[in-house]
Every structure is written in structure tokens, then in C-alpha cells.
């Protein structure tokens, strides 16, 4: 088997997932300067929402036909949880010192994990997620599982739609304005509260789509899946330049590919054989973050903070 195309494909699949989740971090940060550490759990509940819809389906329902409904279910659950969190946990703290909402976010993340753990039937162990049947498909020398094709199609579609929304619609322009100068946005007649809810909702919807991709790829979902994925996606958002939606996707892909290449090749470097294999992949991912923060703190596509007068 040809190794490099395979490693790149694996990285791309992983990275597209990181990128989809990273959008939620970056949009919320761009507008309210809050790092929503509960976003990993918003992703996780989306996975359970999608799974629940699947379990409701009658036997023999084709998975291909079920996927759109599963996405819908996941999106509804994630958006509901995220907008409720905004309304009842974050909005009352607007204007408070930044540490307060940050700690609230961490608390909320624990609460959401525990709620799923306690009340989702049998959630103490991982739940199997439906899988597409059939063998892998060969693309440019890489063999790609059918389930993984989902994120490779969904991520570019989502980015394209989001780009159009932000630049071409009135609400999208209102969102840009709110991110750049919230008080002046109000003077234009923009209901900034509604824009903030919209940012949370879009981020949550993308996270739910990523959760479906995660389930299809890994064959299971569990209440803990949001932690590491959330942390990686946050890394991706910072890597790409937090506040920049294209940066979030780029950061995700760079992170995914770097992780995959490091896993595949670092062990081959003479003297580095100890560090080969998948066990070290998180180390490489976070090392990359540290390097970027050292040499380009604003991220790959980020603007210098100074121009935010």
C-alpha cells in the first residue's frame, strides 16, 4: 500500500472534523470573546441526538436515507443545548470579568457530560454507531472507508454555505459588524443579542454534523468523546487564528494532517523510533500548537490583535 496518500487522507478526514468543530469556537470567540469550553460537549450531545434518531428508525431502513434525519436530530439537540447555555449561563454574565464566563463554560462542560452519563440509557459505556456497509473506496492511492466520505463532502459544503451567509446576507453582515464593533452595530439597528444566539447556533449545528462524522468514522459515540475532540478543535481554532472562520477550517486540516503524518513517519526518523505510532499523536498536535503560539501568536490567518482598536 502506498503510505503517503493514505496518511494524507487520514489527516484530511480527521482535520475536516476538527475544523467543523473549530468553527463553533471561533465564531463565538469572534463575537463575545468567550472561549466556550462546553463546545466539545455540544458536539457530544449532537452525536447522541443523531444516534437516538437512528434507534427510532424502523428495522431495515437504509443508513444512507437515515443520515439526513440523523443530522437533523443531532443539529436540533446541539442547537437547543447551545442556545439554552447562551441564554441561561452566558448572557447573565455578559459584562462580568472574562474569567467568570470561562469558568462557567468549564462547569457547563462537566454538567453536560454528567447529564448524558446519568440519564441517557446505558450511557456509561460507549454506544455503537451505525456503519455503512461495503469495503473502502480507492481514491488517489488512498483507501477511504465509506463512512469517512461523509465528512469529506460535508465539510466543504458547510464552509461554502457559511461563507455565503456571512458575506452575502443581511444577518451575515450584521454578524461581521457585531464582531468588529458591538456598540456601533447596535447604532445600526442590529439586534446584537440575536446575532450572538445565531453564532452559538451555527457553531452547534456544525458540531453536530461533525459528531455524525465522528460516529460514522469510529463506529461509536460516548459521553466522553467531546473532551479530546473539543480540545483539539480549540487548538485548531487558535492555530488558524481565532475569530477567523476560514482559519478554523485551515487550522483543523493542518492539525489533522500534522497529527497523521507525525504518527506515520516520526518513528522512521533514526533515533526517534521510541516516538512512533499512534500513542504519541496528541503530543505532536499540542506541540504544534505551542510552536505556532511561540512564532505566530495570532495564528495562521489571524489578524494582529492591535487593529481591534
Amino acid at each position: 500500500m502506498n503510505e503517503l496518500p493514505q496518511q494524507l487522507a487520514n489527516g484530511l478526514i480527521l482535520g475536516a472534523m476538527y475544523g467543523l468543530i473549530a468553527i463553533g469556537y471561533t465564531m463565538v470567540y469572534g463575537i463575545v470573546q468567550l472561549i466556550n469550553f462546553a463546545h466539545g460537549e455540544i458536539f457530544m450531545v449532537g452525536g447522541f441526538g443523531a444516534l437516538t434518531v437512528y434507534l427510532w428508525m424502523p428495522d431495515g431502513f437504509a443508513l444512507g436515507a437515515a443520515v439526513p434525519l440523523m443530522i437533523l436530530g443531532g443539529v436540533i439537540v446541539s442547537v437547543a443545548v447551545a442556545t439554552a447555555a447562551e441564554r441561561f449561563a452566558y448572557r447573565p454574565l455578559r459584562g462580568a470579568p472574562r474569567l467568570a464566563p470561562l469558568i462557567t463554560a468549564i462547569g457547563l462542560s462537566i454538567v453536560l457530560q454528567q447529564v448524558v452519563w446519568m440519564w441517557y440509557p446505558d450511557a456509561k459505556k460507549d454506544h455503537p454507531f451505525p456503519q455503512f456497509e461495503g469495503g473502502p473506496i480507492d481514491v488517489f492511492g488512498a483507501s477511504i472507508q465509506r463512512g469517512d466520505l461523509f465528512v469529506l463532502i460535508a465539510a466543504p459544503l458547510c464552509m461554502f454555505a457559511l461563507g455565503l451567509f456571512v458575506t452575502k446576507t443581511r444577518s451575515g453582515r450584521g454578524m461581521q459588524a457585531t464582531a468588529q464593533d458591538p456598540d456601533t452595530a447596535k447604532l445600526m439597528g442590529i439586534n446584537t443579542d440575536r446575532i450572538i444566539v445565531m453564532a452559538f447556533a451555527i457553531g452547534a449545528a456544525f458540531a453536530a454534523i461533525a459528531a455524525v462524522a465522528y460516529g460514522l468514522k469510529n463506529g461509536q459515540v460516548g459521553f466522553r468523546m467531546g473532551f479530546l475532540m473539543g480540545l483539539k478543535a480549540f487548538t485548531a481554532a487558535v492555530l488558524g487564528g481565532i475569530g477567523n472562520i476560514y482559519g478554523a477550517m485551515l487550522g483543523g486540516i493542518v492539525l489533522g494532517v500534522a497529527e497523521s503524518l507525525a504518527t506515520g513517519y516520526i518513528g522512521d526518523i533514526p533515533g526517534m523510533d521510541l516516538f512512533g505510532g499512534g500513542a504519541w499523536k496528541d503530543v505532536w498536535a499540542f506541540s504544534l500548537l505551542i510552536l505556532v503560539l511561540l512564532f505566530r501568536p495570532q495564528g495562521l490567518l489571524g489578524e494582529r490583535v492591535a487593529d481591534r482598536a
Partner: protein, 238 residues
């Protein structure tokens, strides 16, 4: 016939510090009213309260017959009150045209919006030449033009301008003042805050001098321009 804007005994505080301590004034339709005074006199605080960004501690604000208290900032512009803020506050990473469009955020008459964008370009030709450029790349004076053009896009009954000449070169300052004169001639009602008291009073119908949160002197623009104490304090004469 009541005035377009009636402010009565308005008080505003930041925490425990009262920045505006009970001021009253009126703006009649079609006139230019100016508030002058030193930094910290409470002029900007007054405007920010009128447009809903700050909540008053007490007093009445009546605009076009309606009380503005309890109306959130984002709804005030639809009543016909536009605010071009101190420091211009254009949206730096959006194009000039998008900035103007944001000024018309609540309007739904597409044709009217296009027509008014054109009008802004007629008023400020430089904006038209650079319509696709990011607004942050404009010079200070050009940004001021954009901020004024953007405020006009909501078709306001009252245009509030906060320090439009701040930080501008003398030539640019003259240009901005000439534009305000032009808007006045077109019948626009304007509430103007200026540090350049000479220029502001020369074109204002009425003026009020503010000192530490209070109006200490009121009169027609011409009266104030020739008032001894005003000349000493604000026009740099001894």
C-alpha cells in the same frame, strides 16, 4: 407644536459617578443644535444615552413625541435617530459599500437604499471611488465621511454627530464642516458635538455650553459666539 427632541432633567451615571447632572434642551425640526464644552463635560455621555447605549439615571427623553426610555439601542435608529459616534467607529474590515449598507440595516426598500448609497457617493465622491476597499484603509477624514454617510443611510429625522472634526487636518476639518453646512441647507436636523467651538457655533441655530455635567449657558449660535465668557473659555482669547 412640540420640538423633535426634548431632553428634560437628564441624569446619567457611570457607577456612582454622575457624568450628566440634570440637563434640559430641545432640538426643533430643521435646526442645528450644538453642545460645546471641554473633555469630560458629559457631551458624549449625553449622546450615547440618547441613542440607548447608556441607561439614564433619571429624566425624560422625548423624541418625535415618544419617550425613549426603556427602548433598546438597536430599536432607536428605526425611530429616526441616527448617531455617528465619537472616534468614527467605522467597521474596519468591511468594504465602504458594506459599511453604508449597514447604515440601512433596518430598511427594506432595496431601490431606496441603492439610491441613498449613490447620494452618499455624490456627497463624498472619494467614498464612491473606493467603494470596494476595506474601510480601515481610509484616512481619518475619509473615515469621518463614511461614518456620516453611514448615519445618513437610515434616513434619520435627527442626525447626531459626535466630534466629527476630531483629529483631522485643518483642510479636512473645513471639508467636514462644509458638509454639515450643506446637510443643514438640505433641511437635515442635526445635534452636533464639537471641540471646535468656533466652527460649531458659526453654523448652529442654538448652542449649549456644558461644564462638568451641566449646561451652564445657552443661546443662539451667534449670541454664544460673541459671548465674552465663551470667547475666553472656548475660543482661545484672553
Amino acid at each position: 407644536m412640540t420640538a423633535l427632541l426634548e431632553v428634560e432633567d437628564l441624569r446619567v451615571a457611570y457607577g456612582k459617578i454622575e457624568a450628566v447632572k440634570g440637563i434640559s434642551f430641545k432640538v426643533e425640526a430643521g435646526e442645528v443644535v450644538t453642545l460645546i464644552g471641554t473633555n469630560g463635560a458629559g457631551k458624549t455621555t449625553t449622546l450615547r444615552t440618547l441613542s440607548g447605549l447608556l441607561q439614564p439615571l433619571g429624566g425624560q427623553i422625548k423624541f418625535d413625541g415618544k419617550s425613549l426610555r426603556k427602548i433598546p439601542a438597536h430599536k432607536i435608529v428605526s425611530l429616526g435617530l441616527a448617531h455617528s459616534p465619537e472616534g468614527r467607529h467605522i467597521f474596519p474590515r468591511m468594504t465602504i459599500e458594506d459599511n453604508l449598507r449597514l447604515g440601512a440595516y433596518l430598511r427594506t426598500d432595496k431601490e431606496g437604499i441603492e439610491k441613498d448609497i449613490q447620494r452618499a457617493y455624490d456627497l463624498f465622491p472619494i467614498l464612491g471611488e473606493r467603494r470596494k476597499q476595506a474601510a480601515g484603509t481610509l484616512s481619518g477624514g475619509e473615515q469621518q465621511m463614511l461614518a456620516m454617510g453611514r448615519a445618513l443611510m437610515s434616513q434619520p429625522k435627527l442626525l447626531m454627530l459626535d466630534e466629527p472634526s476630531m483629529g483631522l487636518s485643518p483642510i479636512m476639518m473645513q471639508k467636514i464642516m462644509a458638509t454639515i453646512q450643506e446637510l443643514k441647507a438640505q433641511g437635515t436636523t442635526i445635534l452636533l458635538i464639537e471641540q471646535n467651538a468656533q466652527a460649531a457655533l458659526s453654523l448652529a441655530d442654538h448652542g449649549h455650553v456644558m461644564e462638568v455635567g451641566k449646561i451652564v449657558l445657552s443661546g443662539t449660535g451667534q449670541d454664544l459666539l460673541h459671548d465674552e465668557s465663551v470667547r475666553k473659555a472656548y475660543l482661545g482669547e484672553d
